[in-house]
Subunit: 161 residues, 6 copies
């Protein structure tokens, strides 16, 4: 039966031993989103024609956060990330304006990059909130989850929607 | 009309000038959550009687992240936080196990602490995911939002549910 | 006669005592630049019409570095920055393409923000180099210097050109 | 009766509220040491006449660590340090070579700087170990403790030896 | 004869070249401790039955510090840690209450992890001090030293007690 | 034709995929400088006979910055540096006092270390400025550029002077 591998024999948290795990290519794709008002939606999308828009800043923040994941999440192993990409997609529907945030992380290492992808997506959403909160503090960061992972002994994972 | 205050005259992001704002006590309360399976729920709650449980680690991570918010969110001002607290509450309901995460942040400074509270709650949820993902990668981080803020010129905010 | 205030009585470096200095508004304006080839110039300027261009990333990096100055420069005091802005200007002249980088930093504190402005400008230039080095490794970061500072007991400074 | 102020009502750690505490000048003096072999002693002291010696590096490390204390110690409040100084003193006695490390930290803020002084002294000792461990891994970092603190409501403290 | 490998030809510190060293499994076990009063001992041990106790927080701090060692100790090489564990043991003896702190670090890399283990143990002790200092500022962090290391060309080391 | 590899298909920045690149030894040599007044020159060089001089601190700062490059430059990949060295050389000439700063960085990895070398040299120059600015704020950081790189698929590069 599966158990919480992060606990040591004293019942405390530890960083689990991955020294025996193989170095293989591993990828993860995580999703987050932010629900914004029509006014915020229009500000963000109209500024996209300019340089330095909201989404650029958010995406830089997400990439930098991915690299700092092991410094933010206590039991995460430090991993040399080989690629990080963040992409945006608007889902608009009758006064509902949702910015979908997709993060893609890749490494060649001995553990997976799920946390890096989730952290990148979360920080990206938080940054959009930060840059638009002067207009509306009621924005809501939507569900954040792992969409897919590949590589590693535990096998691939793909979320069923 | 409100505008994106984070943009400079070249249309690029900037860290807005708060040197004229007054130093007052400001608080923020943010909420996040994580939806887990029954198995994860049982692991977390049974380990709570032990030292070093999942929620302790998550909560330390959240507090440390609150302090590092200005280092993670590009346009956030550095603020000397005066208090950070994180509290948990389970909402269980017919095979739905949701851990509610409440973060409370306080400062005496010239800008608000909404981002610090949101970042603390997000990182707390991410850490729970990290420590339980060996059991189930399908956990979902729920909506993350500002519940309340007080202090500052823009006035108080309280989310209507 | 002026002396190196950073040395203690054992002749070693120290972080000098500023606890008696007054909290006043202080600003600094620093300049750096990067000399690029025509090809790089064209890539950067043509991508400016798109979102997420080179200069956006560089500018986010500069702002984040300004906030982290006391963590990078050993004897710098931590200062709560109140505003950071970075602006760009091209100086093109017969096959010479120079991107001028202006950083503006402001605080209300007990020491100046010269180092924050210089660090922001330097990191901004380094980031442009990073993002364009696949095209040309021969780019040169130009002179980096303090243009102006105001506030503080040592008085204002303005570089004569 | 005194209690562990770091625990919240759920029995978990929190960063205690200091928003009501007064901003006053506070100082702390901490001590650590490292016991080294005669060989290491001679290497360190002979290189002191050169630039870039072991103690210079250790002392820079200690000063930088003082500034990063709130990032390393989970429940520490971020404090804008106003002065940090580190001084060394050899206590040699019949084949016992002990480098005494004194750290002095000062702030003007709403909480004390004991942790900053202790962290600076510890990191200073660790850095000496790091730079000399190629010669001898048997070095021992001696007792680390607070020698004195001044300022703040809890009053002054001075260790009796 | 052994020499200070950290010095370059100008007599200054450098990060020594390890590019030719083999990637092998390396472990280190370091020890620190903290001497506390009876009152502090009782607070810590009685809160151990609760979630979020002092030792949990200290241990998370130690693990996070291990990962950040190369960022804290100037000449340390960055190493991808593969496992970190921290364990506690009380040694009580006639009004002497000493918490022994054992850190275990493992990597598969081209240099050892002694500094990571020592840093983890030190930061763990500092965090216990921080969380209990409201009760007693007279606590003393005991000797901190390397107990054992394995792997690497310089061979194994085991401290004789 | 070469293109800005840092842009994703949405025209935004990304951290490019290097998971297919081979792990080989790679080196980089970068140069920066700082032009100082005669007075600053004399202070720096006279303090060189003492321990803890300006250049020691600058060099420690440069080495630490090299290790933190991926945390400062947004699209840089994290790389485990294997060696960092910084050397100084004065070029004095009729009231012109220029401190040349040479940084040498080495890794065994899947991408080059140009940015690490450039960042080390820049931060080194910034630190000299910081430690001497009480004497003269008019110092100028000179051109900063890559002198040489070896290793990697794109081949060697050597600047022609």
């Amino acid at each position: 039966m599966k158990k919480l591998t992060h606990l040591n024999e004293q019942g405390r948290a530890k960083m689990v031993d991955i020294s025996e795990k193989q170095e293989t290519v591993r990828t993860a794709h995580a999703i987050s989103s932010i629900l914004v008002s029509k006014e915020v939606y229009e500000k963000i999308t109209s500024s996209q024609v300019k340089k330095g828009d909201v989404l650029s800043v958010a995406q830089v923040a997400g990439i930098m956060a991915a690299k700092r994941t092991a410094d933010i999440i206590p039991m995460c192993h430090p991993i040399a990330l080989k690629a990080v990409d963040i992409q945006f997609e608007w889902k608009c529907d009758e006064n509902k304006y949702e910015l979908m945030i997709h993060s893609f992380v890749k490494t060649k290492g001995s553990t997976g990059v799920e946390m890096e992808a989730l952290t990148a997506a979360s920080v990206c959403a938080l940054t959009v909130y930060d840059m638009c909160k002067a207009i509306d503090k009621g924005m809501v960061i939507g569900q954040t989850y792992l969409m897919e992972k590949t590589g590693g002994k535990s096998g691939d994972f793909r979320r069923e929607l």
